[in-house]
């Protein structure tokens, strides 16, 4: 991490690092890992970790998209269904219509962008509550993905000459391909958000709409773009899961939206907008998974996994509220 990336901090080196919001998410992650490892050393085993990291990337990519809408002050709960939609549309195009990998992926993602645009348009243009609006698209997309398929699942392994799916069967440096895809996407997002004009303006839109307008930012356009990116990233996550499994299932992605939002919130994304960092989101999603995993290692029933997630989310928001309620010095 370059020190230029942490421009909003004061001080040098380590001190500057400890003042970042990402750092305050990292501490609980480290604490949970240390405590669990102290009690059950096999928690830190490579097997356990690679099992965890097999699930993290899909939610993490979706959460990255969710953080885009959250940072502009809205919420998108259609991401899970959009992921499932793209995840079944891509193999459908390949198997039914015999399309190649590139064009089927591109068309699927284009559809995702269109869905995101509809979300953003309805929220920005008509002032509909974002939660209800995206709930509407959640249902529409959720139904549409079943409508367009003739079979329940499409097996990509059975398609002659579809080599992309084999690339996902192998490990690279001990990690599956989608893990590296996730890292690349987060790196791009990190640069976009932290370093580019576009990213800074996106954050400014959610931070203070009035100031954003004053300095000439088109905040409506920014909000629509955030929705489009949210749908796009969800679509990518869905397609990556399909490629990893080798076949598409329509119900993939169900429930991802709230796990993604939970990851964002734990990762320090403010629900009132203006504060989000890709690194924080990645740590946040990891924290959610590690905490669930740790709970199981510590002997709580596996079935409490979801409950832990809920408690973590509420705790993270409470922490955010507490931090914001501190008074400004005179």
């Amino acid at each position: 991490m370059s020190d230029k990336a942490l421009v909003t901090r004061d001080g040098k080196g380590l001190r500057r690092l400890t003042q970042t919001d990402e750092f305050s998410t990292f501490i609980p992650l480290a604490v949970i890992m240390l405590i669990t490892a102290a009690i059950r050393p096999d928690f830190l085993s490579i097997r356990n970790f690679s099992a965890m990291f097999n699930q993290i990337p899909f939610i993490a990519i979706t959460a990255l998209g969710s953080s885009m809408t959250l940072m502009t002050g809205n919420v998108d709960i259609s991401t899970g269904r959009v992921a499932g939609f793209a995840g079944i549309m891509m193999p459908m195009l390949v198997v039914e219509l015999g399309w190649g990998a590139a064009e089927s992926i591109l068309l699927s993602l284009a559809c995702c962008l269109a869905i995101g645009f509809v979300n953003g348009f309805l929220v920005v243009k008509f002032g509909l509550p974002s939660f209800i609006t995206t709930m509407g698209t959640l249902y529409m997309v959720g139904g549409a993905r079943y409508l367009m398929i003739k079979e329940y699942q499409y097996n990509l392994h059975a398609v002659e000459g579809f080599s992309l799916v084999h690339a996902f069967d192998q490990l690279y440096l001990g990690m599956p391909l989608y893990f590296w895809c996730m890292l690349i996407l987060f790196a791009i997002a990190f640069v976009l958000i932290k370093r580019t004009l576009w990213g800074r303006r996106m954050l400014a839109t959610g931070d203070n709409n009035e100031v954003a307008t004053l300095v000439g930012i088109n905040s409506k356009k920014m909000q629509v773009q955030a929705y489009m990116l949210s749908a796009l990233l969800a679509g990518i996550a869905g397609i990556l899961l399909t490629l990893d499994m080798g076949f598409g299932l329509p119900e993939n992605g169900d429930g991802w939206e709230f796990r993604a939002i939970a990851g964002c919130v734990v990762g320090g994304v403010s629900l009132s907008g203006g504060k989000a960092s890709p690194l924080g989101v990645l740590i946040g999603v990891t924290l959610v998974f590690v905490a669930e995993n740790a709970i199981i290692f510590l002997g709580l029933p596996t079935t409490m996994r979801v409950a832990v997630q809920g408690a973590l989310m509420a705790g993270a928001v409470l922490f955010d509220i507490f931090r914001q309620s501190r008074k400004v010095p005179e």
Partner: protein, 543 residues
């Protein structure tokens, strides 16, 4: 034609020696109308190069409207009149446009990006750090997109330079949410200075500052002035006008009243120009003999909601008796509304005592306030006054459901009877109590708000700007209502920024300034001048 008039106006005001080209900014014959009101009526404002022009006037004098014209909130075309910057006409279409044209604006409220660094706040309009170096075209800098990346190192350097040039003590890398209020105010000034403005508008910049910060602000302003920047300094406070400005323009009722050079300053005269309204004989005050004390407040203190170690109001004490009207005078932001909100349980009280009919009470929420016999009409009718989803019946009836209920059930016939009673006695102009309140005129809406408070049978009625934004006829009816209240023995606390109205209606006065009570006046002691002089006191030491 218009230009002629403007020249005549500037000649009238003793600026004949200064030709048009010497003015940094001119607003000529600005007229801005709203439905039913002329907020600015042929207003002119001429600011010379490198001078600090004070703009002063009471609430509703038309200052904020003029500022919104100058900084583009009201776009060109929504008003009549001409804006000249350095002798050339400008037509700002938005605040951003005005900013790029060279009109810097610092709003009254703190308005910053809290999750960004100081430097990014200042240069958010161009993080590439290019446009300011490009040649301007038509007054606007040209934007070229050579790179999508923000140039942070250049930005920090430029910020450091900018802050040093203007003697503003801020760290470019500092996190904005960790800055104090005073520093955030300085940041907003630096943000406005980043575009090299020809004119800088400061809208009541001292409201949120402590004494030390005010001194720092004045130093920065003098420094800017020395560098040739013109400043429009809007304030309520006379001391600041005397301390800082070279000339002062006084507005009243949307019109130009006078312009004084520094050498002509005379505080009494300025005050008179601010308030000199005709007191129409329409306020018919029916004096009642005051009875027992209903409310006494001792050393009431309310903390600021988000600034540490600061109070909204401090050690406020007063009392009011049966049948008496206590007038609370002061400027906007003096803490009058906050004191009343605290008494009504809407703001948490930090310390101090409230006595109702001699007995000490604690009021933690509005429910308890109503139970102790307090009724309140808030200043903001839209936000606090009405439920626009409802008809007149429910809007009036909601404050006293107990009187129209049997057990848990509300008897609609009783509710209607009660609402009808107030509907008739307050002479609300509407077809029936089934009419939705959203369809009523402002005056009639205000009657509904008052009816709602009366419906809870208060012993003490707090009226915060009860005649704000309503027509003259309705105003008179409201005065009549207040008289009727006192006749029935209700104690009234009245806040009004229209001094003549307050003077005519009240039996006694409490004057507040900067969150404190600065004096109490009996009816015969109070004149517009004596009240205004008290209300413009400032505790902030400027040196």
């Amino acid at each position: 034609m218009q230009a002629d008039e403007s020249i005549r106006f500037s000649q009238d005001t003793g600026a004949e020696s200064a030709g048009t080209q010497q003015f940094a900014m001119q607003a000529i014959n600005i007229t801005k109308r709203f439905p039913g009101v002329v907020a600015n009526d042929n207003v002119c404002l001429n600011v010379r190069k490198g001078e600090v022009m004070g703009l002063i006037g009471e609430n509703g004098a038309g200052k904020s409207t003029l500022l919104k014209v100058l900084n583009g909130v009201y776009p060109h075309g929504s008003y009549t009149g001409t804006l000249l910057l350095d002798g050339r006409e400008i037509r700002p279409a938005s605040p951003n446009d005005a900013m790029l044209l060279g009109v810097g604006y610092v709003p009254q409220e703190i308005n910053v990006l809290k999750y960004f660094s100081v430097a990014e706040n200042i240069f958010m309009f161009d993080l590439r750090m290019e446009s300011t170096r490009d040649k301007p075209q038509d007054g606007r800098p040209v934007r070229k997109s050579r790179t999508p990346f923000a140039n942070f190192s250049e930005m920090f350097r430029a910020t450091k330079q900018l802050l040093a040039d203007n003697r503003i003590d801020l760290n470019p890398r500092a996190d904005v949410r960790k800055l104090s209020i005073g520093q955030q105010q300085m940041l907003m000034i630096a943000r406005a200075l980043a575009i090299n403005p020809k004119v800088l508008i400061l809208d009541e910049p001292t409201t949120s500052l402590s004494g030390k910060d005010v001194a720092q602000l004045f130093m920065v302003i003098r420094h800017l002035q020395a560098r040739g920047v013109s400043i429009i300094f809007v304030t309520h406070k006379l001391a600041e006008i005397v301390e800082l400005t070279d000339r002062v323009t006084i507005l009243r009722d949307g019109k130009n009243i006078s312009v004084y050079e520094r050498s002509q300053y005379n505080t009494r005269k300025i005050v008179q120009d601010m308030i000199g309204r005709d007191i129409a004989a329409m306020y018919v005050k029916e004096a009642q003999t005051p009875g027992d004390e209903v409310l006494r407040v001792e050393n009431l203190t309310v903390e600021h909601p988000y600034v540490a170690n600061r109070n909204l109001i401090e050690n406020v004490s007063f009392s009011v008796r049966r049948g008496e009207i206590l007038g609370m005078a002061g400027l906007v932001g003096a803490g009058r509304s906050e004191a009343c909100m605290a008494i009504f349980g809407m703001l948490p009280v930090k310390s101090g005592k409230i006595f109702i009919e001699g007995k000490p009470v604690t009021i933690r929420n509005s429910q308890e306030a109503v139970r102790h016999g307090i009724g309140m009409v808030s200043e903001d009718r839209k936000k606090f006054g009405l439920n626009f989803v409802w008809d007149i019946r429910n809007n009036i009836g909601i404050s006293n459901l107990g009187a129209v209920a049997r057990g848990p059930f509300v008897l609609k016939s009783a509710l209607s009877r009660r609402a009808e009673k107030y509907f008739k006695s307050l002479r609300v102009k509407a077809r029936s109590i089934d009419t939705r309140v959203a369809t009523l005129s402002g005056g009639n809406q205000q009657k509904i708000v008052i009816a709602r408070s009366l419906n809870s049978q208060p012993k003490l009625m707090i009226l915060d700007e009860p005649t704000k934004g309503i027509d003259v006829g309705s105003k008179n009816e409201i005065y009549g209502l207040i008289n009727e209240m006192t006749k029935e023995g209700v104690a009234v606390v009245m806040i009004s920024s229209e001094l003549p109205e307050l003077l005519a209606m009240s039996d006694r006065f409490v004057v507040m300034a900067e969150g404190k009570v600065v004096g109490e006046l009996a009816q015969d002691q109070a004149t517009e001048t004596s009240v205004m002089e008290m209300a413009t006191t400032t505790f902030k030491t400027v040196s």
